[in-house]
């Protein structure tokens, strides 16, 4: 049987995406500790190419202490992306304030979605506790929303590798702020930066330890650069995602982390 095999979540590649200029390679992989306990993979991700120039992605990490963490993470990520898609269909923000507002509204909507689910299931919001990272990529802006841990790393046109969004200052690694906490909207961070982004990575905290240098909180170039470099040449996104998932489930990674982990890479096709 597959008792020791991690549960891997790959999402089917949207045919529209394959026809667009966007490249997405991503996976959520169950942590070794969750295989042992056993707990399902409580990480989730979602994304959507709005059009040839705007892309939205979300990563959520359900808190192990929450009863419906898995559902919470999946719903939060999916509803965040759906909300942004819906809003952009009506209007595209023109300035920084507009994008930040969109990200804030998105978090409120994702939280409301969990609230509705909790009511439906006669549960409480806390049962769906999850972190949430949102990234919207446009030709001129990099927009992020962030509550809890995980990071967003951007590879810029000028060659720089930057931490575009990082966890709030929680002292202890086992304490995190969820989307479902009472004062969430004042604790979450929302940013819109004028940035020329070549490629983007969204990571849950399970991948953080192997890719971000803890001493100065900078992205580890030998981790990100080879991945970003290969993105534009990817022909089969599903196969590439499978390859990524195998890497994330490998001993090389699992020796350093036993948590669920998500890595979502977003780039553009080579022209």
């Amino acid at each position: 049987m597959t008792a020791d095999q991690p549960q891997i979540s790959l999402y089917p590649i949207d045919p529209d995406l394959a026809a667009s200029k966007w490249i997405v390679v991503g996976a959520s992989v169950q942590g070794t500790s969750h295989i042992k306990i056993p707990l399902p993979c409580q990480d989730a991700h979602a994304y959507k190419a709005i059009n040839a120039s705007i892309f939205v992605a979300a990563v959520a990490d359900g808190l192990g202490s929450a009863v419906y963490a898995q559902a919470g993470a999946q719903l939060a990520a999916a509803s965040a992306v759906a909300f942004v898609e819906q809003q952009l269909a009506a209007e595209t923000p023109g300035d920084e304030a507009g994008w930040v507002q969109l990200a804030r509204d998105c978090f409120l909507a994702a939280c409301a979605r969990l609230e509705a689910e909790a009511q439906k299931d006669q549960a409480v919001l806390r049962d769906y506790s999850t972190t949430l990272i949102l990234a919207i990529l446009t030709p001129d802006w990099l927009v992020t929303g962030h509550i809890g841990d995980g990071v967003v790393v951007a590879s810029l046109e000028d060659g720089d590798l930057v931490l575009a969004s990082q966890p709030m200052n929680e002292e202890y690694v086992n304490v995190t702020y969820p989307l479902t906490m009472p004062d969430m909207i004042h604790i979450a961070e929302f940013k819109a930066s004028p940035a020329k982004v070549k490629a983007l990575a969204l990571l849950s905290d399970g991948m953080q330890h192997v890719s971000i240098r803890t001493v100065d909180h900078t992205p580890h170039p030998p981790f990100f650069e080879p991945l970003f470099r290969q993105l534009p040449g990817v022909k089969d996104m599903h196969k590439a995602s499978q390859n990524l998932a195998e890497f994330m489930a490998s001993e090389q990674i699992c020796a350093h982390t036993d948590d669920d982990k998500t890595l979502l890479l977003i780039g553009r096709q080579r022209v």
């Binding site: 390679v25 192990g64 202890y172 086992n174 399970g206 803890t214 580890h220 040449g233 036993d258």
Partner: protein
């Protein structure tokens, strides 16, 4: 599988060699004269059980850092912070009074020191644990220490457990322990079961980020039923 070479190979990425995350745990042990004989012998044996039990969990034995502070004739740091894979329990002997207040204060000072070391080295860390075991009650001034550790517990700066052995004064200990986690009474001298519980709890805590509320295993295997 196709035989063409893949256009994406994630294995070319190399991971950041970060120091392992740490989960500090201070054992605050009563070695006053009344612990002499069977209690101290069982406690010594229990420390070995603790080490062996954590070592079964490879990641936990690299993450959990144990320090041992004893209070009896003197307050003494018997073992400075060390990861469990390197830990060899000291042999404790029992003598003297119960200067618990001074011991709690020293434990908190040591924790602050350790956290500074983690920060300088870029090591991320879990919320520390302080695990106090006593068969009596403090013989020194303890109110200020109790206030200090309870305040820390309230702002989630520490997880503090108090275990009473034999004739321990649970009424006084209840004023020292955090309000939401009253002292528990050890079942006889079953330190072994208690330390197995502690190792599996620390294993769970150090396992991963599992949110602010960690569901610990039940303590019923090693606690006495009190009225």
């Amino acid at each position: 599988m196709s035989d063409e070479s893949p256009d994406f190979d994630a294995k070319v990425a190399s991971v950041a060699e970060n120091p392992e995350q740490r989960c500090p745990c201070i054992l605050l042990l009563d070695v006053s004269g009344s612990m002499d004989g069977a209690p101290i012998n069982q406690l010594n044996a229990g420390l070995h059980t603790f080490r062996d039990s954590i070592r079964k969990n490879e990641l936990a034995s690299m993450r959990v850092e144990v320090a041992i502070l004893t209070f009896g004739k003197v307050v003494e740091l018997k073992q400075d912070f060390i990861t469990v894979d390197q830990f060899n329990p000291p042999l404790l002997s029992a003598r003297g009074q119960t200067p618990m207040g001074a011991a709690i204060n020293l434990a908190l000072d040591k924790l602050e020191e350790r956290k500074q070391i983690y920060k300088q080295a870029g090591i991320s860390y879990f919320r520390p644990w302080v695990f106090l075991i006593t068969d009596g009650e403090p013989t020194d001034e303890w109110h200020s220490a109790a206030t200090r550790i309870q305040a820390m517990e309230e702002r989630k700066g520490v997880t503090f457990f108090v275990v009473g052995v034999d004739k321990a004064n649970l009424t006084t200990l209840a004023q020292i322990a955090p309000k939401n986690r009253p002292p528990v009474k050890l079942n006889g001298l079953d330190f072994a079961s208690m330390f197995i519980w502690l190792s599996s709890s620390l294993g769970k805590v150090s396992d991963s980020k599992i949110g602010a509320q960690v569901a610990l295993p039940p303590t019923s295997d090693w606690t006495a039923i009190t009225a």
